[in-house]
Symmetry: C2
Subunit: 225 residues, 2 copies
Amino acid sequence: MNDQLTLNMDAYLPLRDVVFHTLREAILRGDLIPGERLMELQLAAKLGVSRTPIREAIRMLEQEGLAITIPRKGAIVAGMTEKDMKDVLEIREALEELSVQVACDKITDEEIEQLYKNMKNFENSLKSGDLKEMAHADVEFHDVIYQATDNPKLISMLNNLREQMYRYRVEYLKNPENHEQLLMEHEAIYKGIVEKNKVVVTEMIRKHISNQVAVVKNMIREQEK
Amino acid sequence: MNDQLTLNMDAYLPLRDVVFHTLREAILRGDLIPGERLMELQLAAKLGVSRTPIREAIRMLEQEGLAITIPRKGAIVAGMTEKDMKDVLEIREALEELSVQVACDKITDEEIEQLYKNMKNFENSLKSGDLKEMAHADVEFHDVIYQATDNPKLISMLNNLREQMYRYRVEYLKNPENHEQLLMEHEAIYKGIVEKNKVVVTEMIRKHISNQVAVVKNMIREQEK
DNA sequence: TAACATAAGATTGTATACAAAATACAGTAG
DNA sequence: CTACTGTATTTTGTATACAATCTTATGTTA
């Protein structure tokens, strides 16, 4: 386990929530790697809390698919097989398509403006070369579309699906060869939404998602070794 | 609260799982109604366990959207507004469409056979007039399609979405006027899948889902009064 | 050496104890 | 009568204690 695991006590939240967010972050960032055991006493000591909030946080991670617990054996960080990834992408594709279609109907002028800004931000972040910034800018671009659906349940599901492969997805951005392509896709999606052309935008988002598949598959192969 | 709340201790499962399933069932059956408080001590006493497994079960229900907890105030059974229902159905439609499309590609001969059987079972259950049996037969019909997708993540999401409106959906079956319609839709879906005609089957499942909307909306209106 | 038994230690499961916060309520001032 | 205040009670949050189970190490026997 990594030593970067410390609690962020800023808010007046129940410890279980703080622990949950901390562990979730650690898993998504890769500080806790798939297969790694989540031992209650160890985590409790490291985070300076008792086992109770740790256990409750683990139950939450479990329901989100980020951890797997075997009764009386404990929890481990969930990993994804290539099949799992294929499955998730299949779902993501359907829901991303839904989200752009709904967005075409519901998006406001302010949101379109924000979408443009975030598209440009992403463009700039590519120049900066900072991976974290790129990932963040990319997320923000897509978030505008999610928000435009005005469907909180859908938004949370999409976020969850996206997070499930965050670890692998960042890898995609590492390769500068993909940048041009990404930029073009964002522009096409933006244009499609502005013109409210559902057919085009659906096709573009599909391409956008499926482009990630190949790269991610390779990563998984690495992991499974 | 209802008194039917008792633990089913058959399996050698952690109590949190038993409690989780018990509460989940109670919520879906309507024994615990939306807005009702889930008080730890009360539930612990009623189920004959300590607060610990109750709390962990509540954390799980929370992540499934079946309960809502407000820090330091406790948890309540989640209810659905009309908007929530619309949102869920929007997602369900997309994922149900995906599932029949994938099923067209992947379904096996055995599964087609099973689908036929379950279609007939549903037909018979309608004659019986037993609501519970109808609901169960309906679930089993659709389950075959879910299983055929060979995508466990998708299956669990669809089950979750379906369960979220189980309370309201049963109402749909109460009205015999809907039976003929339902039967025809099932037959059309079955035929479409056998012929692997994605266009037809997608259209049919869409109709099948959206037919539920109006009825369910009325129920919600009742609840919100 | 391999297989197995057994005991020690580690880890999870559950209950309980105590602290902190929210709620309900009675009493009082205005 | 209303609004407020302080207190008692209830309820949740967290820590800890104990029990059950699993793991690991050790030693014994064939």
